[in-house]
């Protein structure tokens, strides 16, 4: 299985501010009633978007200026809460191809990486700088560069962090581990043979 090597993601950005944005907000539970991931994009931040509208405002995802953005900017501990892969799926189905946040919850990060959705980290001040530039010029092109570990925008750039195992998986096109895991099946047999609880039959 050959996978796309994800070295760069370029496109416009949108900033969804806040820390501890949990998976229930990213995709509320009622959208989990499905047997495929198709159609999840519509549910992305559904309740937040509705609440923003009801309060007389507009959520950044509904702001026409940011329509078609490919890079989602956010705060610390993004994706905390449940293990629902529906969360990164909804982000991707909505059209995002990378997330830039201060930090991520563990399970969300792993799920996103497995889907080929780079989740890179940047310092708060840097995210704020980029967000300000995007707000001033929504058409501004951003580039998340996983090779140089840099986010470039206009003529400026800020450094990015990304766990090496994830970076390696993305840039070398092995973010979906299944092929490699299947190759290990002989060793799996050997290891399981040493574990008595796997031999029990009921």
């Amino acid at each position: 299985m050959s996978l796309q090597k994800i070295t760069h993601v370029s496109g416009r950005g949108v900033h969804v501010a806040g820390n501890d944005i949990d998976t229930d907000r990213i995709i509320p539970a009622r959208f989990l009633k499905c047997v495929t991931f198709d159609g999840l994009g519509a549910g992305l931040f559904a309740d937040d978007r509705k609440a923003a509208g009801a309060a007389g405002g507009v959520h950044p995802l509904d702001d026409p200026r940011f329509r078609g953005a490919a890079i989602l900017l956010s705060g610390a501990n993004f994706g905390c809460g449940s293990s629902r892969e529906h969360a990164p799926q909804a982000i991707m189905k909505f059209g995002f191809r990378a997330v830039v946040a201060e930090s991520y919850a563990e399970i969300f990060f792993g799920n996103a990486t497995n889907l080929g959705l780079p989740c890179v980290s940047a310092a708060r001040e840097d995210i704020q700088k980029v967000a300000a530039a995007v707000a001033a010029d929504p058409a501004l092109e951003l580039t998340v560069d996983l090779v140089a570990k840099q986010l470039r925008y206009g003529s400026a750039a800020v450094p990015l962090q990304l766990r090496e195992s994830a970076r390696d998986a993305l840039v070398n096109g092995r973010w979906d581990a299944i092929a490699e895991l299947l190759e290990g099946s002989a060793s799996v047999q050997a290891v399981s043979a040493r574990l008595p609880y796997l031999q029990a039959r009921f």
């Binding site: 820390n19 501890d20 299944i178 799996v188």
Partner: protein, 471 residues
């Protein structure tokens, strides 16, 4: 060299190192449910693969099942499609499935322990973040996403980076009226909702030594709310006594061998941890959340924080956001705040000991007028034992609705939901915005006995005062 349980289990289940530096880790036990598995089976089918170890895969249905009337088809066609899909996938792949008519159905994190599927020294994965619950038995139990469910189905392994281990000691004793739920709410308050990122939490100390398995499960369950993907307690006599005689546990000579192995898997004295935290049991108060994440908790005696109390601009912003959503007054006592709903259930606190303890206090009392109170056993077994002991009657007589086993109002993927901005005293584990089914619904997390105190008084209350528990 002295090793922690985590290290021993990790090493014993390591298949090999992958090209990106992660470990291919063998998953001995795979638990699945209806919400996160259908897409994984779809992927498996697309790749033309089979389930590698169907005999190590166990399924039940919990999130979407109605807790009032259970005749099929369910009134919600999507829920109905989900249960049928699970049934079909299990039948097609030869997977053990605890269905509604089995008498053993329930929340997946209750079914594993009840059946003795959850055992010390094993690796367990489930497409659900509260899989950390199973760590109470000394297992390394991980919540995974759907693509990883596919990986486990197809290969019985996942790719994972090794976690660090933080030892958390809770010393001394808990005060009367303080429960396991308070311990974990307090720990998350102290260590932060992302304090555990990258860590497995090993819980120990005298308080855990004395805890029952059910209390240990309550704490391990919420490890993920503190950012830790794994939480565990070393196995001991309490663990073995709980497991003995359960359906999937070895019998006869094999039992003795298993116990010997389980004893040996516990952390060695003198092993090193990446971090150690010690908390005095005496310092833990009955804790209630007032905000929109599980770390926003206070002692029942404290006042609701004000933005001015914040130690950082970040904290200030999160207090402001939480107060606005929760419609609570900064600086006011939380105690006395009127509630609309009392929910007793979820994989954190819907075990027999929870209902027993509440029933002890609830006997002869009535739910306050205007409060909707529901009690939802976490499994059919709990439900059956409660019926045998007459516990269901105590709840019904008090004015609680007594329901069938499932996740219910913990996340409201079933008909049990908050309405509008109702305020709910809840024994569950998440108080996120919209968590209980209404986008403006509000959740206060607390122990089951505190939920009961709120139910009978109609407001957030100190259960020790309501039920006359003296320090």
């Amino acid at each position: 060299m002295a090793k922690s349980l985590f290290q021993k289990v990790w090493d014993a289940h390591t298949v090999r190192t992958l090209a990106n530096g992660q470990t291919q880790l063998l998953i001995g036990t795979h638990l699945i449910h209806e919400v996160t598995s259908p897409q994984a089976f779809g992927m498996l089918r697309d790749l033309g693969l089979k389930v590698a170890m169907p005999h190590r895969t166990f399924a039940t249905v919990d999130h979407i099942v109605p807790t009032d009337q259970r005749t099929e088809p369910f009134s919600d066609p999507l829920a109905d499609e989900m249960i049928k899909t699970l049934r079909r996938n299990c039948a097609e792949h030869g997977i053990t499935y605890f269905d509604l008519n089995s008498g053993r159905q329930g929340i997946v994190h209750m079914v594993g322990p009840e059946q003795g599927i959850t055992q010390p020294g094993t690796t367990i994965a489930c497409g659900d973040s509260h899989t950390s619950t199973h760590g109470a038995f000394g297992a390394v139990a991980l919540g995974i996403g759907t693509t990883q469910i596919r990986d486990v189905l197809a290969t019985q392994t996942i790719a994972l980076g090794r976690l660090k281990v933080r030892r958390i000691n809770v010393t001394g004793r808990l005060a009367p009226g303080v429960y396991a739920k308070d311990v974990i709410l307090h720990l998350i308050r102290v260590l932060g909702v992302n304090g555990g990122t990258g860590y497995a939490y090993e819980y120990g100390g005298e308080v855990f030594d004395r805890f029952s398995m059910e209390e240990r499960m309550t704490v391990c369950n919420m490890s993920i709310e503190g950012g830790a993907r794994v939480g565990y307690v070393n196995p001991d006599e309490t663990t073995f006594a709980y497991l003995k005689g359960r359906p999937y546990v070895p019998k006869g000579a094999a039992w003795d061998e298993a116990v010997a192995r389980w004893r040996a898997v516990a952390s060695d004295p003198g092993c090193t941890y990446d971090d150690v935290v010690t908390i005095r049991g005496e310092d833990i108060p009955p804790t209630v959340t007032w905000g929109i994440n599980p770390g926003q908790g206070i002692s029942i005696a404290e006042n609701i924080p004000a933005p001015a109390d914040a130690k950082s601009p970040d904290e200030r912003a999160s207090i402001e956001e939480a107060l606005a959503y929760m419609k609570l007054q900064p600086g006011a006592p939380l105690k006395g705040t009127k509630i609309d709903v009392a929910f007793l259930g979820s994989c954190t606190n819907a075990r027999l000991s929870d209902f027993k303890e509440v029933a002890r206090h609830l006997k002869g009392r009535r739910v306050a007028p205007g409060v909707k109170a529901i009690a939802v056993p976490g499994s059919q077994i709990v439900s059956q034992v409660c019926a045998e002991l007459g516990i269901d009657r105590v709840f019904r007589d008090a004015g609680f609705e007594w329901r069938e086993a499932g996740c219910s109002m913990c996340l409201a993927m079933n008909p049990d939901k908050l309405v509008g901005d109702q305020l709910c005293a809840s024994s569950s584990n998440r108080n996120f915005k919209g968590r209980q089914g209404s986008p403006t619904g509000r959740t206060l997390l607390m122990s089951p006995v505190m939920v009961a105190a709120a139910a009978v008084t109609g407001a957030v209350a100190d259960a020790r005062e309501v039920f006359g528990v003296t320090p």
